[in-house]
């Protein structure tokens, strides 16, 4: 079953057609890679799916429901969580509170319960903290929970963004260049982590330039160029596609 479907989605900035009637789908439980040269419109696709941009044309449906034009916070509540290409953590807040930000939409305590510090509110807080610590443990950052998020290393900040996204109980996790800025060792660990996320039953859609990672982990690739879909399918098939090789001019075998 398809968890996410894009149907003829177009996004236009002024005179620039960033996405041109793009259609593809993401099957539930799979890991799908979105690739293409710089400026192909990959991040624009993500921003349309997560509600940061509103497409001019087309329809996006998630779990059988039309979600086009919903605000980002509403989409998180429906089960779409994301990380950002340029890391966007709350740098001056503790690591744990960053993860609690992801948990926020699953908590219910209102203004009055918070001010009065009711037993139900305290119970919910404890439970949320425990759950977020589990997510930190999952990405291997539990020991850093009290540190300022901005003081973490680059690779750990990426992991923290993933933990924050996971804390919102997503059905679909969208990763924008998760290996960006990571060294080889960290990238290998990241591949295992993405596998573990998939094993939890969470569908993953990712943008990545590191082709080893993409080839290792993705079950399906979607290739964009100039806002148009040029190929999609299994990695092995896509990598042999002449249009894809053409798009990656001169990249051919040494990259793949």
């Amino acid at each position: 079953m398809n968890l996410l479907e894009l149907h003829e989605v177009s996004k236009i900035f002024g005179g620039l057609v960033a996405l041109n009637e793009l259609s593809f789908s993401v099957e539930e439980g799979s890991v799908v890679g979105l690739i293409g040269p710089n400026g192909a419109g990959k991040t624009t696709v993500f921003n349309c799916i997560t509600g940061n941009y509103r497409p001019e044309h087309g329809r996006i449906s998630f779990a059988g429901r039309d979600v086009t034009g919903l605000r980002p916070h509403a989409l998180v509540k429906l089960g779409i969580a994301r990380t950002f290409q340029s890391i966007r953590l709350f740098g001056r807040l503790p690591v744990l509170e960053n993860v609690l930000a992801g948990r926020h939409c699953r908590l219910k305590s209102g203004l009055l319960a918070s001010m009065l510090h009711t037993p139900a509110q305290r119970r919910e807080e404890r439970e949320a903290v425990r759950r977020c610590m589990e997510e930190l443990d999952f990405v291997g950052l539990a020991a850093h929970h009290a540190e300022e998020a901005g003081s973490l290393s680059y690779g750990n900040q990426r992991l923290l963004e993933i933990a924050r996204a996971l804390a919102s109980d997503p059905h679909l996790l969208i990763l924008d260049e998760p290996a960006g800025g990571m060294n080889d060792q960290e990238t290998v660990a990241l591949i295992d982590l993405i596998g573990a996320i998939r094993d939890r039953g969470i569908t993953v859609l990712l943008i990545e330039h590191d082709m080893r990672l993409v080839m290792r982990i993705c079950e399906k690739l979607v290739v964009l160029e100039n806002g148009c879909l040029i190929a999609q399918g299994e990695p092995a098939v896509v990598r042999a596609n002449p249009a894809v090789i053409e798009a990656y001019l001169g990249a051919e075998s040494e990259v793949w």
């Binding site: 807040l93 992801g102 926020h104 939409c105 903290v129 610590m133 929970h145």
Partner: protein, 323 residues
């Protein structure tokens, strides 16, 4: 117990026994400090916690004071009965004016909120609906009656105002500890990331605004009851600036707000003998402050999470120990 909690308790004890040693003049100064502390605490939710640059807080203060005055003088409402309604009317005004502008950022919002306080002042000056009495304001506001005890003297108001400050601190502390307080901090840090994490940014900004306005409205009730006469000039732009400066100087913690309220309202009184030079000295102190301590006097400490320590203590964390 840490140093800051200790300082807070010490301050509370000092305040409780101050009337025994201080003369009527200083008690009335301290009532004033308490009112500004209350206004500072309410603005702290908006400006300190959520980072919304709001410089029109005197507008909500005025709405609360005038609501109380009108209900009391025209409809004979007791002061304490008028208090929640004064807060509610201020909150309602806040919703009406903030909803269209809440998406503005930083200095743009600042300019609009300055507009709000001017609009309110000029509206009051023009005797809106024949209720506000124009530039003469409203006089003859009754004294509050606390379960049969009539609050008349300055010392009564002293305990009333500071009691209200204590209750506000307790409630706002709970708020700061909660998901609500965290959500405001996320918005202050990075509102795009906050929205992307599932925080309904607009609604939280608006809630912070409304809550702050509600509290300022209630502070207005206390002011009206203490002064018994209110005029539009009591709520001019300078008032907004002072409340704003109290919060900026404080650094965003509640103890900081109390300290900076004392510095802003109490210190100029201490410097009175320097008469004309006192504002100069004060301005210089502010400038030095901005150079050497731009984060404010006492920025809030990070929240602590017992459950997180327990989680690490239980050995679920692999290997390393928390620093």
């Amino acid at each position: 117990m840490n140093l800051r909690t200790l300082a807070g308790l010490l301050l509370a004890v000092c305040l409780a026994f101050l009337p025994l040693v201080a003369g009527p003049y200083w008690i009335s100064v301290c009532v004033n400090v308490g009112l500004y502390a209350l206004l500072g605490l309410s603005l702290n939710v908006i400006l300190g916690q959520a980072g919304i640059f709001h410089m029109g807080h005197a507008a909500f203060y005025a709405v609360g004071a005038y609501t109380t005055a009108i209900l009391n003088t025209l409809y004979q409402w007791p002061i304490f009965a008028a208090m929640p309604l004064a807060g509610a009317v201020a909150a309602l005004v806040a919703v009406a004016v903030a909803r269209p502008i809440i998406h503005l950022r930083g200095d743009y919002l600042l300019i609009v909120t300055i507009g709000i306080v001017e609009i309110v002042r000029i509206a009051l000056l023009n005797d809106v609906g024949g209720y506000t009495g124009g530039s003469n304001g409203i006089f003859g506001i009754g004294r509050p009656n606390f379960f049969g005890f009539k609050i008349v003297k300055t010392i009564h108001f002293y305990y009333l105002v500071w009691g209200m400050v204590a209750v506000s601190i307790l409630l706002f502390y709970g708020l700061w500890r909660s998901r609500f307080g965290r959500a405001l901090n996320y918005i202050k840090e990075d509102d795009v990331a906050a929205e992307g994490c599932g925080v309904h940014v607009t609604s939280y900004k608006l809630s912070a605004f409304v809550l702050g306005a509600f509290w300022a409205g209630m502070a207005g009730t206390l002011y009206a009851a203490q002064m018994t006469t209110i005029t539009p000039e009591s709520f001019n732009f300078m008032e907004s600036v002072i409340i704003f400066a109290v919060v900026i100087l404080s650094g965003g913690s509640m103890l900081g707000v109390l300290v900076s309220a004392f510095l802003f309202i109490g210190l100029p009184e201490l410097l009175r003998e320097f008469s004309n030079a006192r504002m100069l000295i004060f301005g210089l102190a502010m400038m030095l402050m901005m150079i050497w301590r731009p984060q404010g006097l006492l920025p809030p400490r990070p929240r602590r999470y017992q459950a997180a320590e327990e989680f690490c203590g239980a050995g679920s964390a692999p290997g390393r120990d928390a620093a």
